[in-house]
């Protein structure tokens, strides 16, 4: 009899405890769907993310000597990224002088009206998806381009809730962005994410003249991403005689892990 009483009491206590556990979780989940609740959570997540990223940067410095070859390579890579972005800007300004009317309109609709957002969570590097603290309330829509720094493509909006969105990075296996060579407007291929550092540009017609270090930008095909956002540089061109298309390895101009703030661009045809 005491044993049965003990078992019944134990079951009652455990059931109550698990009920409270799930009750609190459901309550918090419901709260997180209100604007005030979401803001609180995003604030906490933003601070945690910044702390994690700062620790990551410090750790990288601890294990990388300033004099080592890898440190020098990193510096050169960063300088290359900056130079590529600057040359992209210079070309954009050149076009501005010749087609000023169209480009002033373009700037009004795009670069000036983006929505700044903070990265608040990140999936594991293999999944290449991050969460930002802006959502449909801020006018963000699926497929919009997300840029960092001086106009370098970070990724594309994947899913949107009222107060947050997920960004599919360019390195994501499902990412396919129409690309062009800087200075042309014709789409020459699709830039696809691959496991590893490099991206891959597929379906390039055999007649295309492509050289290493050419700058690859978005072509604007599809209507959701502006043209001229820098994706990377051509690292290698792979041509198989029997294949109908060329393939190129694209080196991104930035490291996606170092950014904490991004700019979500509006759709070219409507704006945010």
């Amino acid at each position: 009899m005491p044993r049965a009483w003990y078992t019944a009491d134990r079951i009652r206590v455990r059931t109550k405890r698990i009920g409270i556990f799930f009750g609190v979780l459901v309550l918090v989940w419901l709260l997180s769907h209100t604007t005030a609740g979401a803001n609180v959570f995003h604030g906490i997540q933003e601070r945690l993310y910044r702390a994690g990223a700062a620790i990551g940067r410090v750790t990288s410095r601890m294990f990388t000597s300033e004099d080592s070859l890898s440190a020098q390579l990193n510096i050169c890579t960063n300088r290359l990224g900056a130079a590529v972005a600057q040359s992209a800007d210079a070309f954009a300004y050149q076009r501005e002088t010749t087609e000023w009317r169209a480009l002033v309109h373009y700037k009004e609709r795009t670069a000036q009206q983006g929505v700044a957002a903070h990265i608040i969570a990140r999936d594991t590097p293999e999944e290449a998806i991050v969460t930002i603290n802006r959502g449909s309330q801020d006018g963000i829509g699926e497929g919009a381009a997300v840029v960092v720094g001086d106009g370098m493509l970070f990724g594309v909006i994947d899913t949107v809730t009222e107060t947050s969105s997920t960004v599919r990075l360019t390195a994501h296996a499902a990412s396919a962005i129409p690309g062009a060579i800087l200075g042309t407007e014709t789409t020459i291929g699709l830039v696809i994410g691959k496991e590893g550092v490099l991206l891959s540009m597929e379906y390039i017609p055999q007649s295309t003249v492509l050289a290493t270090h050419d700058i690859v930008v978005t072509s604007g095909l599809g209507g959701k991403i502006q043209s001229g956002i820098v994706i990377g540089t051509v690292d290698d061109v792979i041509a198989a005689p029997s294949a109908p298309f060329l393939r190129a390895a694209i080196r991104p101009v930035h490291d996606s892990r170092v950014w904490t703030t991004v700019l979500v661009m509006p759709y070219p045809e409507q704006g945010l």
């Binding site: 405890r17 698990i18 409270i20 997540q45 969570a121 293999e126 999944e127």
Partner: protein, 151 residues
């Protein structure tokens, strides 16, 4: 009431910590399975029902089949194989449960086997550090007062 609320708060804290703090770390450190480590310690130290609830909630939040797998096989392992509350039992439980997760990663293609292996590599030191922290907390005066059963 108290234990349930504390567990829920810890669950949320670790959930935010893993998604926003741990995943921002560089390289392999971003694979530290914080929620799994905490869940396993809860399952061994607090109770298998609470641990199963932890992994069930994790499976619901992340739509993760591997957490559901641990929620199912965890109580069986705890009651049949690793019955003591020793560190060795916890390590054994961790390895066994995570082997099942690896199996799931191999069977279901979207799951990354490399990521699962890296997580398993970090699981053991994580469990050791975690259990040391739990033991320290259990000995501290504050915890003894906070978790004292109400008479």
């Amino acid at each position: 009431m108290k234990t349930g609320s504390i567990l829920a708060c810890l669950f949320l804290l670790f959930l935010l910590g893993e998604a926003s703090f741990i995943h921002a770390f560089p390289g392999i450190l971003s694979h530290i399975p914080l929620m799994t480590i905490a869940g396993m310690i809860v399952m061994q130290r607090v109770g298998m029902e609470e641990g199963a609830a932890w992994f069930l909630a994790l499976a619901l939040f992340h739509s993760d089949i591997s957490a559901l797998c641990i929620a199912i096989i965890g109580p069986i392992l705890i009651t049949r194989l690793f019955t003591t509350r020793s560190v060795y039992a916890l390590i054994g439980f961790g390895i066994s449960a995570y082997s099942a997760v690896l199996l799931i990663a191999l069977i279901f293609p979207p799951h990354s086997v490399t990521a699962a292996l890296q997580s398993e590599l970090l699981l053991l030191p994580g469990l050791l550090i975690g259990i040391s922290m739990v033991r320290f907390c259990e000995r501290s005066l504050f915890t003894r007062i906070a978790l004292r059963p109400s008479s």
